[in-house]
């Protein structure tokens, strides 16, 4: 439990409050403190996202409201408040209104298990790593519900495509997540971060990180996987019938989800708050986590704004025929190698508290394995690319027709 929380709890009981009430109030305060972080950052995130996108596209971005456009989000919020909220007559009213709430809540709820510093966190669940995958599945269902409740063909079609995309990319995501859980021997987020005191997991298994990175980019529906907003094909996807603040909530949930994924990747693969002098002060630890998460977040924005959209058949083929087999091979190889090293006493059996020297042989072996797997994969991709190019040159007309046929 949060430090402040137990303090407040005791204070209230001492001053004569009922124990149950004091407990509840302190829980509520803890929740507000923890959820305050994502809720405040999301306002900033919208500005950052627009500014970065603008810079990449050689524009200036919002610069009118407030200094360097910082107040733009508030202005947008005010504008959204005055927007008429249109509910189509044929919509299922209850589900239509609940869907944006669930969508946003499913992202905020992930922050309950994010440890900000070694001592400041909401809760440290024993099943932490599984918790955020489970919570994210509410978001998927919310999209399905939104698409269906709108009672619009395009919304339903968009929801179907998005949901099948989301569930497909959840498979490699969870397989990649197994690697940190396996290395740390625990699903608790605190244990996973502490187990990286010797070596960050991104060094032990860069492939798992890359798989996780790609799949979480898909989970948030960002380019090259932006079927959620395939404007040219599906009008606007599952949220076509939404307007005003409800639409804004879907939007904010997406922005927040991207940043949340950055923080999760920092925790799972980049040692969370670990960094020089993190033990000196919780503020420094918090700053390290924020900096790592922020850098990963910026790279996802960079990716989003530079790559084109893929077709749905390409997205699905890439997932099922490349990413899933790769993630399975990765976990099999890593678990095999680490077990062998542990049997030979070359790797510690408990990574929490292991020093960098303990980890050195394991690091070298695992890195070599990852490198070999990567080279092998690059070889396959190169060969496939050559084949595709040769085919295209041999029969351009036929190729064009085949491509058009597979395009949805």
């Amino acid at each position: 439990m949060d430090e402040i929380c137990t303090g407040l709890c005791r204070l209230m009981v001492d001053s004569g409050a009922e124990a149950g009430l004091a407990q509840f109030v302190s829980l509520l305060v803890g929740v507000l403190l923890v959820s305050g972080v994502p809720l405040l950052t999301v306002i900033l995130l919208i500005w950052i996202e627009r500014k970065v996108a603008a810079r990449i596209q050689d524009r200036i971005g919002p610069n009118r409201v407030g200094p360097i456009g910082l107040m733009q989000t508030f202005a947008d919020l005010l504008k959204l408040l005055g927007k008429e909220d249109i509910t189509p007559t044929s919509a299922d009213r209850l589900l239509y209104n609940v869907a944006p709430l669930v969508s946003f809540a499913s992202v905020v709820l992930i922050w309950a298990i994010v440890p900000f510093t070694p001592f400041h966190y909401g809760v440290d669940l024993e099943i932490g790593a599984l918790f955020f995958v489970a919570v994210a599945s509410f978001g998927t269902l919310a999209i399905m519900v939104a698409g269906w409740a709108s009672n619009n063909k395009y919304a339903l079609l968009g929801a179907f495509r998005v949901v099948s995309l989301l569930v497909s990319y959840e498979v490699p995501l969870v397989f990649a997540l197994l690697v940190p859980v396996m290395l740390a021997g625990s699903m608790s987020m605190l244990d996973i971060v502490n187990a990286q005191s010797g070596m960050w997991f991104v060094v032990l298994s860069p492939l798992a990180f890359i798989i996780f990175y790609i799949s979480s980019q898909a989970e948030t529906g960002r380019a090259p996987f932006d079927l959620i907003e395939a404007e040219s094909e599906l009008v606007a996807g599952f949220n076509i019938e939404y307007s005003g603040m409800k639409f804004g909530m879907f939007f904010a949930a997406e922005f927040l989800h991207v940043f949340t994924n950055g923080i999760l990747m920092a925790l799972l693969f980049f040692g969370g708050w670990m960094g020089p002098f993190y033990y000196e002060s919780p503020l420094i630890a918090f700053a390290w986590l924020g900096a790592k998460g922020g850098v990963i977040y910026l790279t996802t924005l960079w990716l989003r704004n530079t790559v084109p959209r893929l077709r749905i058949d390409q997205i699905m083929a890439f997932n099922w025929k490349f990413l899933v087999p790769l993630s399975i091979a990765n976990i099999v190889l890593i678990s095999l190698a680490l077990k062998l090293l542990q049997e030979l006493n070359l790797a510690p059996r408990q990574l929490i508290g292991a020093s960098i020297i303990d980890m050195l042989p394991a690091t070298i072996v695992l890195l070599l394995i990852n490198g070999a797997l990567t080279m092998y994969l690059l070889g396959i991709l190169r060969r496939r690319g050559q084949e595709a190019r040769r085919e295209a040159q041999a029969a351009p007309a036929q190729f064009a027709r085949a491509t058009a046929a597979t395009a949805d």
Binding site: G20, Q23, D92, L95, L125, E126, I127, L130, F131, V133, A134, V135, A136, S137, F138, T140, L141, M144, V145, W148, L156, F160, V163, V167, E170, G185, S186, M187
Partner: protein, 170 residues
């Protein structure tokens, strides 16, 4: 039953579970039925937490809300009734009587201590962790045979379902 977090949780999850279940068997619209089913199963996940099995709760959410709900939705959309099913129920009265009788028998068995008695109110203080479950699953004295059989079952189910559902004509 005094008022504390557990009893409040129990009441809330009971409303979810039974209300959702009631929704499943009464609603005419299958998509809404799916949502009701998920409400009900969410309540069951809540029970698992109250019973100190958070891992099962997470898995319940992951498997049911994350996967089976999606699958049922897809199936509902794929099997749109051409001729609208007019009657929602068949054999309504006998089924109602049968399930009521079943319920009464079960309640009688649960509350009356004739089948060995259901007195335990004590609950063990320590509960096994997920790690213990993982160790027991692959232990030769534990559940290694059902563990591998589960894998075979899943493989069979996947192959069978793909074989059935695949549309060769397209």
């Amino acid at each position: 039953m005094e008022l504390n977090a557990i009893s409040i949780g129990f009441v809330v999850f009971t409303i979810f579970t039974l209300g959702g279940g009631f929704g499943v068997v009464t609603t005419r619209n299958l998509f809404q039925g799916t949502i009701w089913l998920m409400v009900s199963l969410f309540g069951v996940a809540g029970y698992f937490i109250l019973l100190s099995a958070p891992f099962l709760a997470a898995v319940q959410i992951l498997v049911y809300i994350g996967a089976i709900a999606i699958l049922i939705t897809f199936a509902v959309m794929l099997t749109r009734s051409v001729t609208r099913v007019k009657t929602r129920y068949i054999r309504l009265v006998p089924s109602l009587l049968a399930s009521l009788a079943l319920f009464l028998i079960l309640i009688f068995g649960v509350t009356m201590p004739i089948f060995g008695g259901v007195s335990p109110e004590l609950a063990p203080a320590t509960v096994a962790s997920t790690r213990d479950l993982g160790a027991a699953l692959v232990d030769e004295n534990g559940y290694v045979v059902p563990f591998l059989l589960a894998s075979v079952l899943l493989t069979g189910a996947m192959i069978g379902a793909i074989f059935i559902a695949r549309d060769d004509s397209a």
